[in-house]
Amino acid sequence: MILFEDVSYSYSPGRYALEHVNLDIGGAELVAILGENGAGKTTLVKHINGLLKPQSGRVTVSGADTKNSTVAALARKVGLVFQNPDHQLFAETVEKELAFALVNFAMPPDEVSRRVDWAMKEFELTQYRDRPPFMLSGGERKRLALASVLCYDPQILILDEPTTGQDSRQKIRLASLLKRLNGEGKTVLVVTHDMEFVADFIPKVVMLSKGRVIAEGSAEEILTNRELLMGASLLPPQLAELSWDLALQRPTIDLEQVVSAASKLVGGSQR
């Protein structure tokens, strides 16, 4: 579905933002992209929707080289939600913001209103239908940016820091929506620093550091690998930390496992 072959990119000579990146993301995957500030995450995802073109190497999306396609052509297929929602929001009202892409893709009016209603409901924005986007709270703006992309239903979804400004209830709602879409066959990439969100909801991880892919694997495996995490300025999720502090034989990011191990330890020390 998404293939990076030996991709390099630099904004200024002598300093690579991406360096010889190889990455193969199959069909219906749900993947987190992790890495330190400046690691190249945003640069990487901008290559998938064609905003950036590799200076060397090749990026192909569903078999097509992004060099031969425009951002406009890729947009229908690849939905990118920007890290800063204010780069994306421009319409006069929440409703118009959501309808914009749909109208652009020439959807019939009843389809447009059905999808706009769906998106407002899904992201708890219905009460703000007629409000200008800049008059929303930070978290609400982020949800509007997410909603405006999700409502046109692209096959590939790329979300750059989707959980910023979200409380834990909103994160759970977002995660279950992403799981559902992924279950319906969509590819979902989540760029994030939110280790708890990854540990709780995202099965697969790609780790970037200094422009290179340094690890790929299951979240359970990578998030309990302390050396690897430290190498990319990441900290283990709390349950991994707790596993170590409790000296559990097999560190885990699963709440139930930690609770059951902890209650055995409590029982043991009381005897």
Binding site: G35, N37, G165, S168, R169, E196, S233, A262
Partner: protein
């Protein structure tokens, strides 16, 4: 000594169908570290804007009650005057960056305090060093990553050295190590220099143990305020969907809070209690 006094504060944005802040009373003593949390849209940013006088001075709307910052009644003093005593890092700082280079951005505040050139320079250099972005000094704020921009905004605030720092989700775009180091810097400023800190955060696991008090806002109202462990172990927060640290969740599952009266906030403290070590 109280450095911030909020009395009977209610506020609605122009045309807002309901109050966005409702009858909030809050006194913060000089040198306190207060954490503010609550669901998205509950009014955290609005409260911050009330503290630095942007509300009502720039936003209009219906304002009632009193906010006094370091002796200044916010409705009677312009925002720039309040800003010298209470510095605010906005939730989305990229939108506030406007200089041509990172260094100019960080020097801008001190320059406007009319400090000598050498002092401006050393403050800017120090602040950039503290947040770990000295290498970006000559970059344009448009040409750096999202997290790097956030660090610039934090450095710009630190360079002003205000007595009260208000930070609205300052770590949202920071990688975990950077987030921890920024929070440690704040804790150090607080304990060593007595700077008053008001911090808005959703990621409570990273900050709860640093704060003297934790306030929970809900739908414009101050629902709870107290010591972080009391607040996080209270039943009221369970229902609210705020980010309860995992250590607290596990401890609650083992019925710690209610049975033993022990209320660990960090995994280390929880582990110590479970393994019967030091408490």
């Amino acid at each position: 000594m109280a450095i911030i006094e909020v009395q009977g504060l209610s506020y609605s944005y122009p045309d807002s169908p309901k109050p966005n802040i409702l009858d909030v009373n809050l006194t913060v003593d000089e040198g306190e570290f207060v954490l503010i949390t609550g669901p998205s849209g509950c009014g955290k940013t609005t409260l911050c804007r009330c503290l630095n006088g942007l509300i009502p001075n720039s936003y209009g709307g219906a304002f009632s009650g009193r906010v006094v910052v370091d002796g200044l009644l916010t409705t009677e003093h312009p925002v720039y005057e309040i800003a010298q005593r209470l510095g605010l890092v906005f939730q989305n700082p990229e939108n506030e960056l406007f200089c041509t280079t990172v260094e100019r951005e960080v020097a801008f505040g001190p320059e406007n305090l009319a400090l000598p050139r050498g002092e401006v320079r050393s403050r800017a250099e120090e602040a950039l060093g503290v947040v770990g972005i000295s290498h970006l000094w000559d970059k344009s704020p448009e040409e750096i990553s999202g997290g790097e921009q956030q660090k610039v905004a934090i450095a710009a605030l630190l360079a002003m050295k205000p007595r009260v720092l208000v930070l609205d989700e300052p770590t949202a775009n920071l990688d975990p190590l950077s987030a921890r180091s920024v929070l440690n810097i704040l804790a150090k400023l607080n304990t060593e220099s007595g700077v008053t800190i008001i911090l808005v955060e959703h990621r409570l696991e990273m900050v709860a143990h640093m704060a003297d008090r934790c306030a929970v806002l809900d739908d414009g109202k101050l629902l709870l305020i107290g010591e972080p462990d009391e607040v996080l172990y209270s039943e009221a927060v369970d229902r609210m969907g705020i980010g309860i640290p995992k250590a607290v969740k596990v401890a609650k599952r083992l019925s710690f809070g209610s049975k033993s009266g022990k209320k660990p906030l960090s995994s280390r403290d929880l582990a110590d209690i479970i393994r019967g070590g030091k408490q």
